[in-house]
């Protein structure tokens, strides 16, 4: 992708002090007609000149690319890596800082996470290194990286030189997740952890399913030798495919935030917090279920998000987490419609409500949980607990 580069020189405080000091030395030299002072003045002016030249040459030959990162998770550090290349044949580069600039109009960017910088100490001629910036996401959602700024004050710290490069990219921050109690899944899944053993498809399970003729590629151990001897042709045993336990997670978002009847909450902050915790609980259940071998599906009634089928695997889990991360709680909620087709599927169902249980959502045998129960179900947060950190303020000691 062609990089749009905007180059700027900034005179910051140390630079202003340096210029003032140079002027004072100049005045002293002229006043005293002292040749040593004239030479020092020459050195200081040469320093100014060389500072601009060295950093200009250094920055001109730098190329930076933000590498595609995985999605983040509230409570875990999000490491953004940058590939920095020095294309100069002769000059090394030193003291390169890289920082993200939020897109214009996306003023809420800092709410997601504190700013962080990557720092590259040295880059030889024709070398490429990877620098990284560690962000600490505070809330779920979609983060749009827009522009990337590289800057340096090397060699003398007099002038700050920066190049801003437009590299739009986005990533998702998954909701915070918790390790849940071990018995949560057994309460949720009606078939228990072993799941349904028989399925209409052949597979690599342990139970007998049927017999068929030998096909090239079949393994020798699949051959039913007795039957083969009887029929005088090679016959193989077919086995059943094991079916893991299945679970559908439903997050009830049909009620708008302002209609959640939370007491003493005129600003609806508590209601919003309950909704976030409901999403968090759903993510935690999905996470735990995945770990225990469940196939998981997700429904988000009240939102325009499409229902996700019950599947398993890394990519499916990522899709569920992305759907949870992308929920826009400020968007208008859809009213409750007719019972969806998922009512008939053979799977356990857990319905998570932000505030109060609404039994009409979900099947009759569904397990209903509320966001408030997260405290009882959770053992500990995965990573650091965002509830223990201030909601909007940056984490302790973050770089301003």
């Amino acid at each position: 992708v062609r990089q749009t580069r905007v180059r700027r020189y900034h005179l910051h405080l140390p630079g202003i002090l340096y210029v003032v000091l140079t002027l004072l030395v100049g005045l002293a030299a002229v006043n005293r007609q002292n040749n040593l002072l004239f030479w020092i003045l020459g050195v200081m002016l040469a320093g100014l000149l060389i500072s601009g030249l060295v950093s200009g040459v250094m920055m001109q030959s730098l190329r930076v690319r933000r590498l595609v990162t995985g999605n983040g998770l509230v409570g875990e550090p999000l490491t953004v890596r940058y590939e920095v290349t020095n294309r100069s044949r002769l000059f090394p580069a030193f003291d390169i800082h890289l920082e993200e600039l939020p897109a214009p109009g996306r003023g809420d960017w800092p709410r997601f996470m504190s700013p962080a910088r990557a720092w590259v100490m040295h880059l030889g001629p024709r070398e490429t290194v990877h620098g990284d910036a560690v962000f600490w996401p505070r809330r779920r959602g979609e983060i749009r990286f827009d522009r990337l700024r590289i800057w340096t004050t090397f060699p003398f710290g007099i002038i700050k030189k920066s190049i801003t490069i437009a590299q739009p990219q986005h990533t998702l921050i998954y909701p915070p997740m918790y390790e849940l109690r071990r018995d949560v899944l057994s309460d949720i899944a009606p078939q228990g952890l072993s799941g349904a053993k028989i399925s209409p498809y052949t597979g690599a399970g342990d139970d007998y399913y049927g017999m068929r003729e030998f096909r090239p590629g079949d393994q020798l151990r699949q051959i039913a030798w007795k039957r083969t001897a009887c029929l005088d042709q090679l016959v193989c045993v077919e086995r059943t495919r094991p079916t893991p336990p299945r679970l559908r997670v439903v997050v009830n978002l049909t009620t708008p935030t302002d209609r959640l009847a939370v007491a003493d909450d005129p600003e609806h902050a508590e209601a919003r917090r309950l909704e976030e915790r409901a999403i968090s609980l759903a993510a935690s259940i999905v996470h735990v279920a995945e770990l225990d071998g469940f196939e998981v599906g997700l429904s988000l009634p009240g939102t325009p998000a499409a229902m996700l089928l019950i599947r398993r695997g890394h990519w499916h889990r990522a899709k569920i987490m992305a759907a949870l991360a992308a929920i826009d709680l400020d968007a208008p909620r859809a009213p409750l419609g007719p019972p969806p087709s998922t009512h008939g599927e053979r799977a356990g169902q857990v319905v998570i409500h932000p505030h109060r249980v609404e039994p009409e959502i979900g099947r009759e045998d569904a397990l209903h949980l509320t966001a408030g129960q997260l405290g009882n179900l959770a053992v500990r947060a995965i990573g650091w607990d965002p509830d223990q950190a201030p909601a909007e303020a940056p984490p302790r000691g973050a770089v301003a």
């Binding site: 030193f94 560690v134 973050a398």
Partner: protein, 749 residues
């Protein structure tokens, strides 16, 4: 990282150097010793195996104490604010050195060290201090660049660790990201910056306008300047120290006649204009006689050969346009033909030709008669002594009173006799009495010293330095004594002028010659004792002058001192004394040098072209043909250069290093299109990474649905066929490939 860990040591070294520098600049040995030792110890105390730092409260109390001490110091030395400030900053630096140091503290310490060196520069221009400044600049540059990395690393590490939320146990990496050979690259950068900085600062130093705005802020006082050797002007305030440089300037042998009495006063310049405020210069009104020498013959300046003459043969070691001689030169010869200016009234000779004058001979008449002097003066009359006396008509009356007192004390009339015949005799006697007054240092309280850096001469013009010397300071070197004698004489109507030159008093029997060194530079007085004759009087105490002698009685330290003195002399002459005149001369010389070189080159080229034209019988149109051929050669050279550059790029990009002979040249001819393609892609921001094979690169572009992907793919296939498939691309295929490159350029534009 080892490189970053070395910074604190380096920072301590820089700070120690700045303390040494300010100690040298203020010539405060106690400060240098005590604070230097404390600064050196601070490293072991704070960073050593049992490193301990000062608690903050203790440091604050010490700073307060230092501030109070500085106030008391200021009250006692209110006239020397800079030195007081320097001492205060030194103590501040020491206190901070004994504290725990963050990058911010190191930044403050480096700033304090810079301030110390600047204050030092305000106080001194000594060679020793300049050497410290130079070392400080080099070491400080490295320390500064290292500090930038050290501070950035510390800040980055601290920010990264501080951002970790409470309760999170896995720490992210805090190691600095760096390429290979960081230390080597940093040192190379420091060397490059140092060299270019030195060059740039030297150019700026030479170009800064001088003699503009001096003292506009008030309190203008020359720093402690050092001067050495012979000068054609005297400025009693400008040079506050005469360095005793033992650098040899001339060797002189004497032949013929009787040996004159030592010390031999070699006259260089006669200063008969007193400009006031202690400044003497030569009169510009003297008519000069142009003399052209024809070696090895002596060129007579006027008059006839006399039996009382001696011949002085000089070997020049340090070049100077002035030719020296004892009173009075009558003939001159040089080692090669040269043009000289001879001033018949002052009997001084100046070399006006550029280039080295390595040796010259001067025949001098030790006791010239009026006829000889009249012949030397040429058409001009005798020197106008009354004009010199007139310059002192409004001089401070105390000087005339003092002269009369001295004359009266010696029983001499304090005014010129009315009888014209007695006037001349009275002048000689009175001048001798006044010189004797000044030379009697035991009784009159005058002190001879070459170091006047501790003496305050008022430079505001309210009092003449000669008057200050006679009545207040009573300390000075030969220029002060000579100026005082000239003033005393002129104030009572005796025409007296200043003469500068050398006092030759060191005879080396191994060389069989007098060795004249820079320390032998001297000033004395000549008094008019007849219309044509001037007699030399030296008011400088002879015992003091002998003490400066660089003869065999020198101590061991003196024997090595010449080394330092030589540098100091060069420093004082080339750097400290660099002023507007020297700047103008330098510019003129540079300008002339370039003009001469360019002119010479142009002349040589023209001659060569003419010779070629004649050799080949081209006739008048030959120059046109030669011009065409020259132009074609230039174009061919440019084309060859471009071709070689392209071949080098092809060799690097296509990895052709291992190919030899025909295969190599075939690849150079056939793979040019691929290099063009890479350049087009690079210009459009799609540079191929060096590690990526061409096919993978083409596939990557296709995967990104790049608009040029299909063209790149086709060109890549053709490249593979030629480079690895062993196919020779036909001319049509190469033309087609080039067309594809052009199409790609248009598509990506």
């Amino acid at each position: 990282m080892r490189l970053l860990r070395s910074f604190p040591v380096l920072a301590h070294a820089v700070l120690l150097l700045s303390i040494v520098g300010v100690g040298v600049a203020t010539e405060n040995f106690a400060l240098l010793l005590v604070c230097g030792v404390l600064a050196a110890m601070s490293w072991y105390v704070t960073e050593g195996p049992r490193g301990k730092s000062l608690p903050t409260w203790t440091a604050n109390v010490l700073v307060l104490a230092a501030a109070l001490s500085a106030l008391v110091d200021l009250a006692q030395h209110y006239h020397d604010v800079m030195a007081v400030l320097a001492r205060f900053i030194v103590w501040l630096t020491l206190i901070k050195l004994y504290q725990q140091k963050s990058p911010r503290d190191y930044a403050q310490l480096l700033g304090l060290s810079l301030l110390l060196m600047l204050i030092g520069a305000l106080l001194s221009t000594d060679l020793l201090f300049a050497a410290v400044v130079f070392i400080y600049a080099m070491l400080g540059l490295y320390a500064l660049l290292l500090f930038r990395l050290y501070a950035a690393h510390e800040r980055s590490r601290a920010a990264r660790l501080a951002a970790i939320p409470a309760g999170y146990r896995v720490l992210p990496s805090v190691q600095p990201v760096a390429g290979t050979r960081t230390a080597v690259h940093l040192r190379s950068l420091v060397a490059t910056v140092a060299v270019s900085g030195l060059a740039a600062s030297t150019i700026l130093f030479l170009l800064f306008p001088r003699d503009v705005g001096g003292g506009f802020l008030g309190g203008f006082r020359q720093p402690y300047t050092a001067r050495t050797g012979f000068t054609t002007e005297v400025d009693l305030i400008g040079g506050t120290r005469i360095t005793e440089s033992q650098r040899a300037v001339l060797h002189m042998t004497l032949t013929g006649g009787r040996s004159p009495v030592e010390p031999l006063l070699l006259r260089g310049a006669v200063l008969d204009r007193y400009l006031g405020h202690g400044r003497w210069s030569a009169s510009a009104s003297s008519p000069d006689q142009r003399v052209e020498t024809e070696p090895p013959e002596l060129r007579w300046l006027g008059g006839a050969e006399h039996r009382r003459t001696i011949t002085q043969s000089f070997t020049v070691i340090v070049q100077h346009p002035v030719l020296f001689s004892v009173y009075v030169p009558v003939a001159v010869s040089t080692d090669e033909p040269r043009h000289l200016n001879f001033d018949g009234l002052t009997q001084t000779i100046e070399d006006v030709d550029p280039g080295r004058l390595d040796a010259y001979r001067i025949r001098a008449d030790l006791a010239p008669d009026d006829e000889t002097l009249r012949a030397l003066a040429g058409s001009g009359g005798p020197a106008d002594g009354a004009a010199i006396v007139d310059q002192f008509r409004d001089f401070d009356g105390r000087v005339a009173d003092r002269a009369r007192e001295v004359l009266a004390s010696r029983g001499l009339p304090d005014r010129a006799p009315d009888d014209e015949a007695q006037i001349w005799a009275w002048r000689a006697t009175a001048a001798a009495a006044l010189a004797g007054y000044l030379r009697a240092t035991q009784t009159n309280g005058f002190t001879y010293s070459t170091d006047l850096s501790g003496v305050e001469f008022r430079s505001d013009g309210s009092q003449d330095p000669i008057v200050q010397f006679l009545f207040t300071t009573r300390i000075g070197h030969c220029e002060y004594f000579a100026s005082a004698l000239a003033a005393l004489c002129n104030c009572v109507g005796i025409p007296a002028r200043l003469v500068t030159g050398y006092a030759a008093r060191e005879y080396d029997p191994r060389l069989g010659a007098y060795v004249i060194r820079e320390a032998h530079a001297h000033a004395w007085v000549e008094v008019q004792i007849s219309p044509w004759r001037w007699r030399a009087f030296d008011p400088t105490p002879p015992s003091e002058l002998g003490a400066l002698d660089g003869g065999p009685g020198r101590s061991l330290a003196d024997r090595w001192r010449w080394l330092f003195d030589r540098f100091e002399a060069s420093w004082a002459d080339g750097f400290v004394a660099f002023d507007a005149n020297r700047q103008a001369q330098l510019m003129e010389r540079l300008d002339m040098g370039w003009a001469q070189k360019l002119g010479g080159a142009w002349q040589a080229t023209r001659q060569w072209l003419a010779a070629v034209n004649r050799a080949f019988y081209f006739g008048p149109a030959g120059y046109i043909w030669m011009g065409i051929v020259g132009l074609a050669l230039v174009i061919a050279a440019i084309a060859l250069g471009m071709r070689m550059k392209r071949a080098a790029r092809l060799r690097a990009a296509m990895h052709l290093e291992r190919l030899r002979g025909g295969a190599y040249h075939r690849m150079l001819r056939q793979l040019g299109f691929y290099l063009d393609m890479l350049e087009v892609l690079q210009q459009s921001g799609r540079a191929k990474p060096a590690w990526q094979p061409p096919l993978h690169f083409a596939q990557a572009l296709s995967a990104r649905h790049d608009p040029g992907a299909s063209l790149v793919r086709r060109l890549t296939e053709r490249f593979y066929a030629a480079r690895y498939g062993g196919r020779r691309l036909t001319r049509d295929e190469l033309t087609d490939a080039q067309a594809l490159v052009n199409e790609l350029r248009a598509a990506l534009r």
